[in-house]
Amino acid sequence: MNKRIFIALALILVFCGQALSQTGTKKKRPLPYEYGRVIINNYSEKANLAPVVFEHWIHRSKFTCRVCHVDIGFAMKAGATDIKATDNARGYYCGTCHNGKMLSEGKTVFESCSRNVTAKDAKRCERCHSFGKTVKSDYDFFSFSQPLPKERFGNGLDWEKSEELGLIKPASFLEGVSIQRKSLSLQNDFALIPTVAGMPEIIFSHKKHTVWNGCELCHPEIFMGVKRGTVKYSMVDNFEGKSCGACHNTVAFPLTDCQRCHSTPVQP
């Protein structure tokens, strides 16, 4: 009896199932100032605070990816780092810089998550715990991005060119946190051949990537394959956040900008 009901329900689900899945529609594209936004809510709501809104664009103009993701140790997925107020108060994670002492561009970086919180601190807490609230930030995307060279998609900015022109100077070393590294033996750039005939080849620049990321950020966690040609990367995997998609979906220029990677015309 139960078995029959189960089968009947399964049948209903199968026929309605197509309606429930969500492929085949165009998703809303995040605005340039929304791109790279991370919402962190491991513990905030439980502590009666709004979830944290972290904007990548302001931080990436000041630091390389490595400083935060390798030297400080942030994970690459929202919520995966498991940051607690106590960690910040002790000077780790956000608290590495947001400690009320560090200077950035002549200004003191505000303290995050102090141990003894009073009502006066509410405004300071809201600077990060701002999900769902309209909080005025010290930095406005519009004025920040005005002088920078523009690009398609993502933040709408050409970060590479901005750095080339000296308009942004991301630091790759944080005193007391980063390990003093001597040299960087660069890996070669190489070509990736697409499986779909006619798509231009991808010239992957190891140099560009290591300047911002070092080695540990990608290897081995994002790119495990050790022998070239053993891993077949697929766009579907990329769009799901694997391989290139770990960064080039939500923070670095998005994969929708095909020609940024597929840049080499196919040799006849």
């Binding site: 390798v70 960690d87 780790y92 590495t96 400690n99 966690e221 022998k227």
Partner: protein, 111 residues
């Protein structure tokens, strides 16, 4: 006997109090003076993991040594307080992972 017990209890409470203060610690990074033992592992960590950028230039033997040094750091990091343990476990994982990855790459190259 009784006096000795009281003294022992008082000593214990005193020490526990000190340890408690230590554990919470101070918020900034250049914090309260770390004890010499902490400094040693930190120094070792900095030394081992500062070489990641040159990993491709090392021989298989050198990489194996580095891996062993990473593994030796693990028990020391596990003893740290919650925050530092979280941070350094992550950093060690990435550092060790890279050396293992490069060693693997070199081994495959030889094949």
């Amino acid at each position: 006997m009784f006096k000795a017990k009281i003294i022992a209890v008082l000593l214990f409470i005193g020490l526990a109090g000190l340890c408690g203060v230590r554990a919470i610690g101070a918020p900034s990074l250049s914090a309260a003076q770390p004890s010499p033992a902490q400094e040693a592992w930190q120094k070792e960590f900095d030394e081992v993991c500062s070489k990641t950028q040159d990993a491709m230039t090392f021989s298989q033997e050198e990489l194996t040594v580095l891996l062993r040094r990473c593994d030796a750091l693990l028990p020391q990091i596990e003893k740290l307080d919650e925050s530092r343990k979280k941070v350094y476990m992550g950093r060690l994982r990435m550092c060790r992972g890279l050396y293992a990855y490069v060693l693997d790459a070199k081994r495959n190259e030889k094949k």
